[in-house]
């Protein structure tokens, strides 16, 4: 437990540091006040940027979602209340996209976590040329998603793709097949593969950082007590890594839930809308159909879902902490 506490990243203190502790002497208070003013002044540029590019657009989008905005230009549009929300919630295409999104999120996050944990253990192992392995592993993550998507689209090309050539030459499949075109579920799984390939390394590095905070003597003590590697993995590594796992789970779930670019590049939402995710559907509604209000409503529904997911994770994590040995 103690190790878990010290290893936790502590964003809390950053938020609290702004408040100066109360002081009894007025002069000291004046000095502190001056410091606060300076701090606020220094924070101002950042605040303006955050307000300009995050909060103002977010507020505008919420307002737009209550009107019927059907053109990119300023003008007067009718107020429709919650109609955009009710209409889009009744749209069957949304629920199909929701299914795809949940499947994508669950499978890709789970795979990334499992593979990332294995990879992290491997990278933490005292091997020769460890720096090289670490450098190579970070490469997929350094690749822009668009490039990654284009790369996998070419690998999986039914006519010229490397995947088909390789698998056919190795006699693992009879002949060339379509990966992205004829089976919507297969295509969705291929998008998952592309995402896992890229993001496993991010997960691995988060977990590697966590692994390195676990004191080595715990393992030694466990070995003295007769615990094998599997037992010490589940009794020491996993519990002490829990904060890192939770953090990376929250990050990856939210990222996966917002998946857009890789779908746009790899499949364009096809075949038969089988890889359309919520954000892709949102994009189509907002820009291709010019139903900006519906797009804004969808975006807010997505935000609410992600918020709920994040709260759920935090709660689960807290319970896990309390019940930890």
């Amino acid at each position: 437990m103690t190790a878990a506490q010290t290893s936790r990243p502590a964003p809390v203190s950053a938020g609290r540091g702004a408040h100066p502790p109360a002081s009894r002497r007025p002069r000291a208070r004046r000095v502190k006040l001056g410091q606060v003013r300076l701090a606020l002044l220094l924070l101002l540029p950042a605040a303006v940027v955050v307000f300009g590019v995050v909060l103002y657009p977010a507020g505008r989008a919420l307002v737009i979602s209550f009107y019927a905005v059907d053109s990119p230009f300023p003008g007067t549009y009718p107020f429709v209340g919650l109609r955009n929300y009710t209409e889009v919630l009744a749209d069957r295409r949304l629920w199909t996209a929701v299914e795809h999104t949940f499947y994508f999120t669950a499978v890709s996050t789970a795979l990334e976590l499992v593979l990332g944990l294995g990879l992290a253990k491997l990278l933490a192992a005292p091997l020769r040329m460890r720096w090289l392995f670490r450098a190579v592993v970070v490469l997929p993550w350094a690749l822009p998603t668009i490039v990654n998507g284009a790369m996998w689209r070419w690998i999986l090309n039914a006519q010229y793709g490397v995947a088909n050539a390789l698998l056919t030459t190795l006699h693992l499949q009879d002949g060339y097949r379509s990966w992205l075109g004829t089976d919507p579920f297969l295509a969705l799984n291929m998008v998952v593969v592309a995402d896992v390939w890229k993001n496993t390394s991010l997960v691995a590095f988060f977990l590697l950082a966590g692994l390195q905070t676990i004191p080595q003597d715990l393992y030694e003590a466990a070995r003295v007590d007769g615990a094998g590697p599997i037992r010490s993995f589940f009794r020491i590594t996993v519990p002490l890594l829990l904060p890192s796992i939770a953090l990376v789970l929250v990050l990856r779930t939210i990222e996966a839930f917002k998946v857009f670019d890789i779908v746009y590049v790899m499949t364009g939402g096809g075949p038969a809308s089988g890889t359309q995710t919520v954000t892709f559907f949102t994009y189509l509604q907002a820009f291709s159909a010019q139903r900006f209000s519906v797009g804004a409503a969808l975006a807010y529904l997505t935000v609410l879902t992600i918020l709920a997911l994040a709260l759920l994770y935090l709660r689960l994590l807290r319970q896990a902490e309390l019940s930890a040995p």
């Binding site: 307002v63 990119p72 230009f73 295409r93 379509s178 004829t182 075949p271 038969a272 010019q290």
Partner: protein, 435 residues
């Protein structure tokens, strides 16, 4: 310590919502944003303008850059900065860039004047559109830029889908190219090619879930005598008669393994590659494929490419109107210079010079020796085909209808729904979008 997490989240959310509330308060001042109108202006007619083109079919990037360089030589006071995006990204890019007026000139597809015109994304140029252009340009080209008798651009690419075939393969299978004048003939030829092991999958199409799929479908709808909309334009008509027959035909060629199943993930460029690689014997595609498939640098079948008018079904063989026009965007602050550029690019002289990539919009061009010499095999076919075109519905919400139709067509082609059910579903969803 554990308590802190809960505290943090609650506190964080409170703070976040307070800030979001502040953002909202400012955002709520005016739903449409500050400022009125589109912010465009005529400008001085000089200076820098930007233009948005597509990277696909029609004129190539090199062609457009060369045309632009020639334009700048003729009009040294105007500098043009062309940008290129994939066709699939063109519509959304125009929409997203409209309020900022990022582009002065945009390339628009035949299916967008209704939407862009009614939403004032591009300017109405009817008053600048000379009467001589209206008589000098071919009818199919003129409809590209017009909606409700107003002009929203100047026709620039006049295109439709032709039937391309591999003359060598047909000869080996003993198929007479003349028999490809009907879809029945094409099916018979495909069967012969397959049976004689000339090529495993004789037909390839651009049936990816994209506008390209609707183009192929439209051409078949025309061949089987179908219609998208009823004559009064108030209801959907593609889910019966020729519209249904067209989709059944498409599905049938897939089931009989005459069509390459990879058509389902192919766009026009993929069709071109597969055809140029000698992996298909017949394909529908835009004019540019003739030149590209005959280029030994990017094709294995150079010199073996035949082109014909689109085959007829039960009722003639109109080609899908796939023309495009150059428009002046309403957010442009230099509309005068933009118009000068558009007028230059669409002039008969420029179009004739680059006829090899895309055939001109001007009727006299088809007797011009330069044009005929550029594509001697295509021009006579084009003359016949361009007289018979079929339009996709010209309604403001076409793009939305097309999205629905693309998904449903694929549902039928992948066997997830019967053609009848898929088209009925598309019609049901599309009906309310017609007004």
């Amino acid at each position: 310590m554990a308590e802190n997490i809960g505290e943090l989240s609650r506190r964080g959310i409170l703070r976040l919502s307070a800030l979001a509330g502040a953002g909202l308060a400012v955002g709520a001042c005016d739903v449409g944003g500050s400022g009125k109108g589109d912010g465009g202006g005529q400008g001085t007619g000089e200076g820098k303008i930007t233009a948005l083109f597509m990277k696909q079919a029609g004129y190539s990037e090199d062609d457009i850059n060369a045309m632009t360089a020639e334009f700048q030589k003729a009009y040294p006071k105007i500098t043009v900065e062309p940008s290129f995006v994939a066709y699939e990204a063109l519509h959304d890019k125009i929409v997203a860039a409209a309020p900022a007026g990022t582009f002065d000139v945009v390339l628009i597809d035949v299916i967008w004047p209704a939407e862009f015109g009614s939403k004032r994304i591009v300017t109405d140029v009817s008053d600048q559109f000379p009467a001589s252009w209206k008589t000098g340009m071919l009818g199919g080209a003129l409809s590209t830029a017009s909606y409700h008798n107003r002009y929203y651009g100047v026709p620039w690419i006049l295109d439709t889908k032709y039937l391309f075939y591999n003359t060598d393969m047909l000869a080996r299978a003993g198929v007479d190219p003349a028999s490809l004048s009907t879809w029945d003939g094409v099916l018979a030829a495909a069967r012969a090619l397959k049976d004689k092991n000339v090529v495993e999958l004789p037909l390839v199409w651009s049936w990816k879930q994209a506008e390209a799929l609707v183009c192929d479908y439209t051409q078949l709808v025309g061949a089987f005598g179908g219609k998208f909309l009823s004559d009064d334009g108030k209801s959907v008509a593609f889910n019966s008669g020729g519209g249904l027959r067209a989709l059944e035909f498409m599905k049938q060629t897939l089931d009989a393994k005459l069509s390459n199943p990879n058509s389902m993930e192919s766009l026009e460029e993929d069709v071109r590659k597969i055809f140029s690689d000698g992996q298909a014997a017949m394909a529908l595609n835009w004019t540019y494929m003739f030149n590209a498939a005959n280029d030994p640098q990017q094709s294995k079948i150079a010199g073996k490419v035949g082109v014909a008018t689109t085959p007829a079904g039960t009722s003639g063989g109109p080609g899908v109107n796939g023309s495009m026009a150059l428009s002046v965007s309403s957010g442009s602050k230099n509309q005068k210079a933009a118009w000068t550029y558009v007028s230059y690019m669409t002039s008969a002289g420029v179009q004739n010079k680059y006829a090899k990539s895309s055939l001109p919009c001007w009727s006299t061009s088809y007797d011009d020796s330069q044009v005929v010499a550029a594509l001697p095999q295509v021009v006579p076919v084009a003359k016949k085909q361009l007289a018979s075109l079929i339009e996709r519905p010209q309604v403001p919400r076409y793009n939305e209808i097309s999205l629905i139709l693309q998904a449903e067509l694929q549902n039928a082609l992948l066997g997830k729904k019967t053609p009848q059910k898929a088209l009925d579903d598309a019609a049901g969803a599309g009906r309310s979008l017609l007004s």
